[in-house]
């Protein structure tokens, strides 16, 4: 908007503001006019106040959201990230042979044989002992680790006498597992039928236990 030939146009005033903002000198005619014309000086003052207020507002907002301690933290984070930036990925050597090591020779192959035999023997002995143990104590099947953990979560504080606890636990377990099974049985997905058939169901386990 031009205020006649005697007054500075709006863009002329803005140029004055920009020059001042950037630390430059005003154009001599504009500077002279601002000195002489009170109206333009007042308009220029309004413009400058508005622009300065925008900047002041931004600065105070930044001070609020980004105090000095936050700046330091950011510097440290940047330093940490920069430190990791040019580190090549560390290759962890596969356990066993080191890069300089030669291939294992016949002696280690003998050791591998013994290792296999020992593992197989341990497995057989373990299975045998386990079978014998459970066949001697049929009630123990109920006290699996899983049922113990479920009981620990599900069972309320044992207010009843100690002789009631196993029954209570087993009934809670059965109820819980049945609910689970019911929930799982509802949506039958054809692709999962084979898998479902391979999975032992709670009711089957229950029958076996009895």
């Amino acid at each position: 908007m031009i205020f006649g030939a005697r007054h500075l146009p709006e863009d002329g005033l803005f140029e004055c503001y920009l020059a001042e903002h950037c630390g430059e000198s005003l154009e001599p005619p504009a500077a002279e006019h601002l000195t002489d014309c009170a109206e333009c000086r007042a308009r220029y003052g309004d413009l400058r106040r508005f622009m300065d207020a925008l900047r002041t507002e931004a600065d105070s907002e930044l001070d609020e959201i980004f105090p000095a301690e936050r700046q330091r933290a950011q510097q440290q984070q940047i330093a940490r990230r920069v430190e990791h930036l040019r580190h090549h990925a560390r290759v962890i050597s596969f356990p066993g042979r080191q890069p300089g090591q030669s291939a294992p020779i016949a002696t280690s192959r003998v050791a591998h044989h013994w290792l296999g035999v020992a593992a197989a023997a341990g497995l057989v002995i373990g299975v045998g002992l386990g079978t014998a143990y459970y066949s001697q104590a049929p009630g123990r099947e109920q006290q699996t680790v899983a049922s113990q953990s479920i009981a620990a979560v599900e069972a309320p504080a044992p207010v009843a006498g100690p002789e009631l606890v196993p029954d209570l636990v087993s009934s809670i377990n059965e109820q819980f597992l049945s609910e689970l099974e019911l929930a799982l049985e509802r949506p039958h997905t054809s692709e999962l039928v084979a898998l479902d058939e391979l999975t032992p169901h709670v009711r089957e386990v229950r029958v076996k236990l009895r």
Binding site: D11, E15, C22, L47, A53, E57, F66, Q77, I78
Partner: protein, 242 residues
């Protein structure tokens, strides 16, 4: 920041990508000779302190002296951090996101320091990285907004916790300041993309019109026109009072 040291900053992506030069002038847009003066290609300027440090860091990295390079880079971070945060926050209106954007920009600058050329002052180069990052984040936010319930920018800024501060103000003053800032942010957001970027570079990024022109590949006179229009629009939107 002295006017010699300052040299341009980021821009809307398309313009930034074809960034070229800007002129020198310092006088009114009405003068033809001034326009010609402004719009001539960039000078081979005397190197600013930051640019010299950046060149030094580039050489150190090239020679594998990374520890020293990192120490020198920390100096650059300290110098540009606050200005970078102000720009990023004005773009994103979210302290945490602005913090991330600034960190990412610095890390990216160090990571690509070998590609830095002194034809661009460090400040210009870095600010371009920062603004491109901010624009990417804004775009990502818009994409997310398509899938989630949109939230008003002012509300987002209110909801996100600041990193500290604000304790000195009483609740009423804080509320008033928050409203004022929300109004201001909404007004700046209503500027069109290029105008907004130019305004932010100039007003919040402390760049001269010449520097902004150098970043955006625009003539300095064009930058001045955009700045004037942005300021006029803001005054209209805010009723002359921020």
């Amino acid at each position: 920041m002295s006017s010699e040291n300052r040299t341009g900053t980021g821009a809307e992506r398309g313009s930034a990508a074809r960034a070229a030069g800007a002129g020198l002038g310092r006088t009114g847009a009405s003068s033809a000779s001034s326009d010609a003066d402004r719009d001539r290609p960039p000078l081979a300027p005397t190197l600013s302190d930051d640019t010299r440090v950046a060149i030094e860091i580039r050489d150190l990295v090239a020679h594998g002296t990374l520890d020293t390079a990192r120490e020198r880079f920390a100096e650059l971070v300290a110098v540009h951090q606050r200005r970078a945060m102000r720009i990023a926050y004005q773009y994103l209106h979210d302290p945490a996101e602005a913090d991330e954007a600034v960190q990412d920009a610095f890390v990216k600058a160090f990571g690509h320091i070998e590609s830095y050329r002194e034809a661009w002052p460090f400040e210009v180069w870095f600010t371009r990285i920062l603004i491109n990052g901010c624009l990417d984040r804004r775009k990502a936010r818009l994409r997310r907004a398509r899938w989630f319930v949109s939230t008003d920018v002012a509300h987002v800024a209110d909801a996100r916790p600041a990193f500290g501060g604000a304790a000195a103000l009483d609740p009423e003053a804080r509320l008033l300041a928050r409203e004022r800032r929300a109004r201001l942010a909404a007004a700046v957001d209503r500027l069109d993309g290029r105008q907004r970027t130019i305004f932010m570079m100039s007003h919040y990024g402390d760049c001269t019109p010449r520097e902004v022109g150098a970043i955006m590949g625009l003539k300095e006179s064009t930058v001045r026109v955009h700045l004037f229009r942005a300021a006029r629009k803001l005054r209209g939107l805010l009723g002359g009072q921020p």
